[in-house]
Symmetry: C2
């Protein structure tokens, strides 16, 4: 039954994708502006329905952080509206001629940006993703099939209703955006196997979800999973820059994927750098866990166990390792990192370049906080997530990363000899 619901929904999305692929930008923007108005006019209802989700979450003893993510207050509704405004203003990527040339035989080849088609998005608690993801897909002429978390299902249903109203007002097929309302876990399984209708699955969530999707999907997946980010303080680091960058990468917002989880410090600078750094971090409430060498300098912190190098804390916890060389730092990162965002702090030119070239990650920084990895900051306007895939899209995924291309070839009767 649920399987049939999901299948019907995906087929409807596929049908709509042929319409949306050739819908003009002004019509897509009109739908987004209608939606913006509807969200604004329905604030009261949104907050009321959202409070049902929150009450239910409290009854089920969900943790405070999760309940906070569920919550839509006026400020967050303003955020949704601002995000819709941003997306309306972004340039439509569809139709861009990426490359074009003429062959000797007179064939004109044009490589043109086109939508991917139908995108399945699996996400967890935050209900604003429902609008953000639908809007980014719509603007890039992709149909979406959304599968949000069960904690926010009432809010998601209401928001999905508003999206449908906006589609109707702008005369776009209802199949452009779809929400799977039944949050039975089986729905995810059915969705990721709909390779007949879906072109891409974007899972956003914890490791268990990503693992399940990767192992079972028949549809191509662009993962948005963990950020196990490092900052390496080189022996040639400017200590004042290093202190600010490390503090920012760990403390400014510890619960996000571009926050630092492990600090690597060159042995020659450790004694000078670590004591003051450790004090600043512990003063900010950070729990430190050190390797054996670190503990000879910071004797009163906890031990970092071997597992610590592979944990994304997403919290005020930091593991610290002293390394003998740049080489060891790069090896550690390429072994334990999640290819998300990595930073070196150094004043040495060769070490900076070596780190940039040899660290295998989406974003590699010299003398800056890893916290900058973000579609909006990178100038994409808005992002659907940050890809830890190497294929198709790497790092922040904005409108352009939600497209593919086709070759349009115009001839005058050419045949192959």
């Amino acid at each position: 039954m649920l399987k049939k619901t999901v299948e019907d929904m995906c087929r409807k999305a596929k049908d709509a994708s042929f319409v949306l692929a050739n819908t003009q930008e002004n019509k897509k923007n009109a739908a987004l502006l209608y939606l913006k108005d509807l969200v604004d006019k329905n604030r009261k209802d949104i907050k009321k329905v959202n409070s049902i989700d929150i009450e239910y979450a409290r009854k089920n003893n969900l943790n405070t952080a999760l309940i906070d993510r569920l919550m839509l207050n006026d400020k967050r509704i303003d955020g949704i509206i601002a995000s819709l405004d941003t997306i309306v203003k972004l340039k439509d990527p569809i139709g861009e001629v990426i490359d074009g040339y003429k062959l000797e035989n007179g064939l004109n080849i044009e490589k043109v940006r086109v939508p991917i088609g139908v995108i399945g998005i699996i996400y967890e608690s935050r209900p604003n993703v429902t609008i953000d993801a639908a809007a980014l897909c719509l603007k890039s002429s992709n149909c979406s099939v959304l599968r949000g978390g069960k904690e926010s299902i009432n809010t998601n249903k209401l928001l999905s209703g508003l999206i449908q109203e906006a589609l109707k007002m702008s005369k776009l097929p209802e199949g452009c955006v779809n929400l799977i309302e039944n949050t039975d876990r089986k729905g995810v399984e059915y969705l990721i196997k709909m390779d007949k209708y879906l072109d891409l699955i974007v899972p956003r969530g914890g490791e268990a979800l990503i693992k399940f999707v990767t192992e079972n999907a028949l549809v191509s997946v662009v993962k948005h999973d963990k950020g196990l980010c490092h900052t390496y303080v080189d022996e040639y680091a400017d200590i004042s820059k290093a202190t600010d960058i490390v503090y920012n990468a760990k403390v400014q917002r510890p619960g996000v994927c571009n926050a630092m989880e492990t600090l690597l410090v060159h042995k020659n600078i450790a004694k000078e750098f670590l004591p003051n750094m450790a004090k600043k971090l512990t003063d900010a409430g950070v729990e430190l866990r050190g390797c054996k060498k670190t503990k000879t300098i910071l004797s009163n912190i906890a031990d970092a166990k071997e597992e610590d190098w592979d944990i994304e804390y997403l919290d005020l916890v930091l593991s610290i390792k002293i390394v003998d060389s740049l080489e060891e730092a790069i090896d550690h990162i390429n072994t334990h990192g999640s290819s998300h965002s990595e930073a070196i702090v150094t004043e040495n030119y060769s070490n900076a370049e070596e780190f940039l070239n040899r660290v295998d990650a989406a974003c590699v920084y010299v003398n800056a906080s890893t916290r900058f990895t973000d579609g909006a900051i990178f100038g994409m306007g808005a992002e659907i997530g940050i890809s830890t895939n190497k294929l198709h899209a790497r790092g922040p995924v904005g409108l352009r990363e939600l497209t593919t291309y086709k070759y349009k070839i115009r001839g005058s009767g050419q045949i192959r000899e």
Copy 2:
């Protein structure tokens, strides 16, 4: 045992990938030129070992077409050498700055082309793929794990030995190119689950292989599967162009993926166009299968059954369908096509544009043969295959499509507010 062999090989490839990612172009070219010399100098041995594979294939009653694909004669060895020459001359894609800009806060962002890492390539009988695939991967700084068909295993082993010699001569790690010598089917299964070490799987082969890989891989897959290509002769077609294009697309080389399998003809031109076209095709030995309407014009051809619209004949067989409209032609193609190469023959501007915009395929042609879909013809120099994926790479896959990117971000102490 085989599992451990495959795993060790993949791990070795991963280790080598960190070296190869930062190897200069001249060193990679040197390896390719050594290899070229070695292939030339070992012609006798190559042909001798190849004859063992051919003899074995004959004993096992493999069909003539397959045996032909297995065979390496002097002309084909010349082809391998020419292909290596081409690849040496191609511009190294690695290090290209794709995009670059400065943020308000002074951060310098550079989007730079980097290799994918380790690529597993699964292919069938043709042994020249062993050299071609290894060379394209090497030039794009990717390590490769090759798994060729068992029919050509002796030839593949010898070629792989030459590759190893060339790597040694140019002081590149042996892990840069790897051949799985045990051709037990299980090897494919182990390979496609090595997501710890592999970044991409490229399966080239029949539907059964592609299906198996898609369903079981944990590694990202860029499929190179069937080409179910159509030519649509519009009511406004120039009949002379249409005749040449249809003949070329079907007859010039029927066994390849960009050959036409189904001919769609508008009802208003069918009576004028089909009889002469059918004669030319049957004269060339093509077996025709028509829909009901087609049979009212070509009464003595076979019936096209519903299944025919989904068969990639790869042979001198053609299904023909008369359609009522451009709309019906586009729908038929988007339903039955494999998103590879599709053509319209028309003199009508709006119909041409409509077809280009609405047909969902890697390559869409107006007034030209689908046979042009080819990396070399498109100016990529050489190709590893033609992707029917929508993600990452679509259409011909050359050096550039064998890369990904990373963001290098250079700062001077920036932290996020």
